[in-house]
């Protein structure tokens, strides 16, 4: 098994799952002939045909709603919303329909669907093509939310998302697509909701997910040179998130930073910080500090966006701030 770029790992997971299970179908805008805006689905329509890799018109609400109907009728649809920003047009299908049907119908049936989207800045795509909105979905009972950061996790988490009987939002970061690397053979399986210690350390726990992992690991390297040994936890799944893993790490390091690209205010970090302040209060030797996007729409200009994106220096400053 090989994949030279992050996007290829996702493509490989889709390819393998479609080959294994005829119920898996893809639907989305420009995913077939065009192979996807970021070439994530390239080649799949040629291999599986237009009935399994379905090019859809630009109609996000119907795409997501049809995925619900497909999932309720024995299929395992993987719908693509081209940019996470466009999911605003599909919120009814996801929030009112997909998330609630299993519960609302008293456990009758399930909605085994995946919605793939990509979020994040770094490409100067501007305010309507760069947002990290995963916190919205983590707030909705009935949805699962996944954000992979590595090749193996992209593959294994997508596999787990497709196998899961619930609606799963699988959120990729567009800045990761060109990242070079390789898949393990085979990639180790991962359960949804299972965090990973990306770097072991003694002095502070930094919780993160998605592309921000790489910024945090760089910061941890710089901190190590200064004698601060950070433990980095990659959540991988935001809903359900691995509270036990974070608490165990906090018990070890007694200091906590939560870092994500999403806007800091009311972001996923707020939930993690609040829970740890409650269940891990006695373990804390300093304030919990969050790192996230500033409370502004993602700006366009190269300079402004670079200034906006949470960076290594902010993570380092946050770690220092946990020391009081």
């Amino acid at each position: 098994m090989s994949a030279s770029r992050f996007a290829h790992a996702i493509n490989q997971a889709l390819d393998d799952m479609m080959a294994r299970d005829p119920a898996v179908v893809l639907l989305g805008e420009d995913i077939g002939k065009a192979g996807g805006t970021f070439a994530v689905t390239r080649g799949l329509q040629d291999k599986f045909g237009p009935d399994r890799v379905i090019d859809m018109p630009i109609a996000e609400n119907a795409i997501a709603g049809m995925a619900v109907g497909l999932a309720m009728s024995g299929m395992k649809p993987v719908a693509e919303i081209m940019f996470m920003d466009f999911v605003t047009l599909a919120m009814d299908a996801i929030v009112n329909q997909a998330a609630k049907l299993h519960f609302m119908f008293g456990g009758q049936g399930s909605v085994p669907m995946v919605i793939r989207m990509q979020h994040g800045g770094g490409l100067n795509a501007g305010p309507q093509h760069s947002q990290c909105l995963e916190g919205w979905f983590a707030h909705i009972p009935g949805l699962k939310v996944v954000c992979p950061a590595t090749f193996d996790d992209a593959y294994a988490l997508l596999q787990a998302a497709i196998e899961d009987p619930n609606p799963v939002l699988f959120i990729e970061n567009k800045a990761l697509y060109p990242m070079k690397g390789a898949l393990s053979d085979p990639p180790p399986r991962v359960r949804l909701g299972e965090a990973r210690i990306a770097r072991s350390g003694e002095d502070v726990t930094i919780v993160t997910y998605g592309a921000m992992l790489h910024t945090v690991l760089a910061a941890a390297g710089t901190l190590a040179a200064d004698g601060i040994d950070a433990e980095v936890i990659d959540l991988r799944t935001l809903q359900p998130w691995d509270e036990a893993a974070v608490l165990a790490s906090l018990r070890h390091t007694h200091r906590l930073v939560v870092a994500h690209e999403a806007v800091e205010s009311f972001g996923p970090g707020a939930e993690i910080a609040a829970r740890m302040a409650q269940v891990g209060f006695d373990e804390l030797d300093g304030p919990i500090v969050r790192v996230g996007g500033a409370f502004v729409p993602v700006p366009f200009s190269r300079k402004l966006e670079a200034d906006y994106m949470p960076n290594e220096q902010q993570v380092i400053a946050a770690v220092r701030a946990t020391h009081g």
């Binding site: 119907a62 709603g65 497909l70 009728s73 009758q108 049936g109």
Partner: protein, 352 residues
């Protein structure tokens, strides 16, 4: 700029100021299936309509006494559309429904027991008391749920129809929606895709002339007939007060969609006898307007066929007893516990 004014019964201009459709305004479609004009077939449809009416009459009373909480939307006057259309369906055909979905659920096969228990919020209800009136569903009979969101079920039906096709089945999906949903964007997205991708789905508009509290004539600038034509979808207008007519045309439409795999639109002109929701004072409505009752029409037709009135009264008595028994069982049924609610947010395994 010249703007073409819409005409016809379905949209911008209705045959009369206001709301109600009259049977004589309906275009007679071709073909006449005599089998459904016979007495046993009509009697069966009549009994199904009567069951829905009697169940909903009791819903109103139970709501008034507080035994049914929340909001309920009754379909008095619309029984012929759901009974007639669903009579044409097989158990493996799927439907999605609306906030006014009691009739669809009962006609597709939801039991009266499960229905009343659900509306009263009991653990043994169709949805274990988690959904209530606006979310009654029975996946075992292909009823994919009433829906609290106007237009919320439309794309679900299109997806279900696509699933039937991808699985190589000749089942069809039906999306019931009201004329108020004609203004929702998802209908337009769904019709475009159904036509584009040749999906076996029937868009059944139950046009009662009202978009909640507003005449639909004030809400849409087009007719469904012209909309269907724009998308290249076959359109049928049906007198939704005549259950035999709905059943025979419904059977023809379903057979056609099943055979061709292509979508169709069926606009059933019908009447909302009661308010948008129970408790609606309908201050916005002309109380002098005639209300066409499909059950009275069917009863007259049966008597015209020679059925004795006492026999129909006896049938009504049987229906009343069945409904009363279901209500009695629902009243004494157990309340759900919150512990079990927390365990039911996520599915543990796939299944339907």
């Amino acid at each position: 700029m010249d703007i073409e004014r819409p005409t016809g019964e379905s949209g911008g201009e209705r045959p009369r100021e206001g709301h109600l459709n009259t049977p004589d305004a309906i275009t007679p479609p071709p073909g006449d299936d005599a089998r459904l004009r016979n007495q046993p077939a009509l009697l069966d449809l009549y009994e199904r309509m009567l069951t829905i009416r009697e169940a909903e009459r009791n819903c109103g009373a139970l709501f008034a006494e507080g035994a049914i909480p929340g909001f309920i939307h009754l379909s008095d006057g619309q029984e012929a559309t759901c009974v007639g259309m669903i009579a044409a369906l097989r158990p493996d055909d799927t439907i999605s429904s609306t906030h006014r979905g009691h009739g669809h659920a009962l006609a597709k096969g939801l039991s009266l027991d499960s229905f009343f228990k659900e509306l009263m919020g009991k653990e043994d209800g169709a949805c274990k008391g988690r959904g209530g009136s606006m979310h009654v569903a029975d996946l075992s009979v292909g009823m994919l749920g009433a829906n609290g969101i106007v237009g919320g079920g439309i794309a679900i039906a299109v997806g279900s129809g696509l699933a039937h096709r991808l699985q190589g089945k000749d089942a069809v999906a039906v999306s019931f929606f009201g004329d108020g949903a004609m203004a929702e964007g998802v209908l337009h997205e769904a019709m475009n895709i159904a036509a584009l991708k040749a999906i076996p789905v029937i868009f059944v508009c139950e046009n009662n002339g009202w978009s909640e509290f507003s005449p639909t004539a004030t809400q849409v600038s087009f007719t469904l007939e012209k909309l269907a034509a724009a998308y290249g979808i076959a359109y049928h207008r049906i007198d939704g007060h005549d259950v035999a007519r709905v059943a025979e045309l419904g059977a023809a439409i379903v057979a056609d969609v099943r055979r061709t795999g292509r979508p169709a639109v069926a606009e059933c002109l019908t009447t909302r006898i009661r308010g948008h929701y129970e408790g609606d004072s309908q201050h916005y409505r002309d109380h002098g307007e005639p209300l066409v009752d499909p059950i009275a029409i069917a009863r007259d037709a049966l008597i015209g066929m020679g059925v004795e009135a006492p026999a129909l009264d006896a049938l009504a008595g049987q229906v009343r007893d069945r409904v009363a028994t279901a209500i009695e069982g629902a009243r004494s049924s157990a309340e759900p516990s919150f512990e079990s609610v927390l365990a039911g947010v996520y599915a543990v395994e796939a299944g339907r």
